[in-house]
């Protein structure tokens, strides 16, 4: 027993691990909260696209030595609103317009990256996260973002549910349905940007949807899906971090892998329960 506790506390003597742990827990909470909306509104591809499309902002932020958060967030919000607008207004189908914006901006980011080449910037860090490089500023930014995000989500929870379930009925009931859709996109962008540190561009979508999806296999109503999703999210993030510490694995992929394993277990369990 003592040994297990030692295993848990030993890494925490390093302050970079403690910082990483705090960020992991917060990302583990916020991702599934929004992820529950993402999976039930079939926006997974949108989430993946948003993560990739913030690359230009991220690269420029690194090049000028400012916080990647400050570079990526405005880019992400502009991208989110642009995609939202194209989806609502153009004749092009939903996933097509998302794909166009996504590939266009991701390639722009890669080009800027090669033009500003020779900087200390490591492509792998951007794509897969750099959890162990979390600075104390990152921790403060993540805490602040989590607080703001949670307050907004709680305040607008019922309205976002109404719009997600019955868009037209919500409009008729007098809700600003279009604005609420944009709000959801902005919230998703914020959570994606704050998760980039942890899992990187490529794996963000896994953190966003996998814990919530696993939870939806076990419980059925929306509020429990969110709560159990948060349990799975925190569990994935924290155990992924420890795995990467003890087995010297890359942290982002470890976290995403754990959440996939949790999903596989839930899937098997739900099959067995039905059979």
């Amino acid at each position: 027993m003592i040994m297990w506790i030692d295993l848990l506390f030993e890494p925490l003597q390093y302050s970079f691990i403690s910082r990483a742990l705090i960020v992991c827990i917060l990302v583990g909470i916020t991702c599934p909260f929004l992820g529950a909306f993402v999976i039930n509104r079939e926006m997974a591809f949108m989430g993946d696209a948003l993560a990739h499309a913030v690359l230009p902002g991220l690269v420029v932020a690194y090049a000028f030595g400012i916080s990647p958060f400050i570079g990526a967030l405005p880019t992400g919000i502009i991208v989110a609103l642009t995609i939202g607008y194209i989806v609502k207004k153009s004749g092009v189908s939903n996933d097509t317009s998302i794909g166009i914006v996504f590939s266009g901006l991701f390639s722009l980011g890669l080009i800027i990256l090669s033009l500003t080449g020779g900087t200390k910037l490591n492509v792998e860090d951007i794509l897969l996260g750099q959890l162990l490089g979390t600075s104390i500023t990152d921790v403060y930014i993540t805490i602040g973002t989590t607080v703001v995000l949670s307050v907004v989500l709680i305040v607008f929870y019922r309205q976002l549910v109404f719009v997600g379930f019955d868009f037209q009925g919500a409009k008729v009931a007098g809700l600003p349905a279009d604005k609420l859709d944009y709000l959801l996109l902005i919230l998703i962008t914020v959570v994606i940007v704050m998760s980039l540190q942890v899992v990187g561009i490529i794996l963000v979508v896994g953190m966003l949807i996998t814990p919530a999806a696993a939870s939806s296999l076990i419980v059925r109503r929306f509020p429990p899906v969110i709560l159990l999703g948060i349990v799975f999210g925190v569990l994935s993030a924290v155990s992924g971090l420890y795995l990467s510490y003890y087995f010297n694995l890359p942290s982002g992929p470890s976290i995403a892998m754990v959440s996939s394993i949790i999903f596989a277990i839930c899937f098997a369990a739900s099959r067995c329960l039905k059979a």
Binding site: N40, R41, E42, I154, V155, F156, Y157, R158, Q159, V161, F162, G164, F165, D166, F167, Q168, G169, K171, V172, A173, G174, L175, S216, R220, R221, F222, V225
Partner: protein
Amino acid sequence: MSYSAPQCLNGCIQCDDVCVEFGNVLVLDEVSFSIPKGVLTGVVGPNGGGKSTLFNALVGLQPIAHGNILVNGLLPGASRGTISYVPQREMVNWRFPLSVKDVVSLGAINRGSIFRKYWFSDNGEVEEALRKVDMWHSKDDLVSNLSGGQRQRTFIARALTQEAEILLLDEAFSGVDISSQEGVIDVLRNLRDEGTTILMATHDLNNLSDRFDEVLCLNRHVCAHGNPESVFTEEVLTELYGSHGEMFAEHRIGHHDHVD
């Protein structure tokens, strides 16, 4: 104490020469009618006849090119919230995992205290609404698992918690079996008796006179409006359904031969 009363008070709907255009196509052409408070009206007509467009115009989601609409004495956009809308089946995201109770409590979202809007709901009124539509026993079921008739009754209960004076139901009977349709109609009749104005779009011409106080026949313009027993003249049917109207007419008098 004399003042000139507005023409269209609570619970009433008035359209004057309403036109709606999609590009170059006139979807609604000078539609005029007036529906008083507390009447159960069936809106019938062919697919593409403008039923959904009319509903969208009434709630202010569809801009009109010409004419006037007054709902509750207000312009359509301003009267939102006093209208409840039961959408067509395919317009709802059934994947969203909400229980019957969750859906019904959403009705109160835009009414009353700020807390109710944002988080809390009054369980008493949700229960009352669910009992009225006979769905209280299924309150914890997921809406995605309900039958067509149960879904419609859940949405009607949502309208009750919204305290809507006007209820619009779009194709409420598609995918609902006959006996469940009767259950839904019973609920609507009770609501009508309490003073709710109800419009239901349907392309089911069966039992219209048993079900509705009035019918509004719509094929881009109003072909007829009035008592369901008397409005369906042969001309009206032809106007509504073209040559198919003849088929209906033949059918009614017992001919099953094909018309050349």
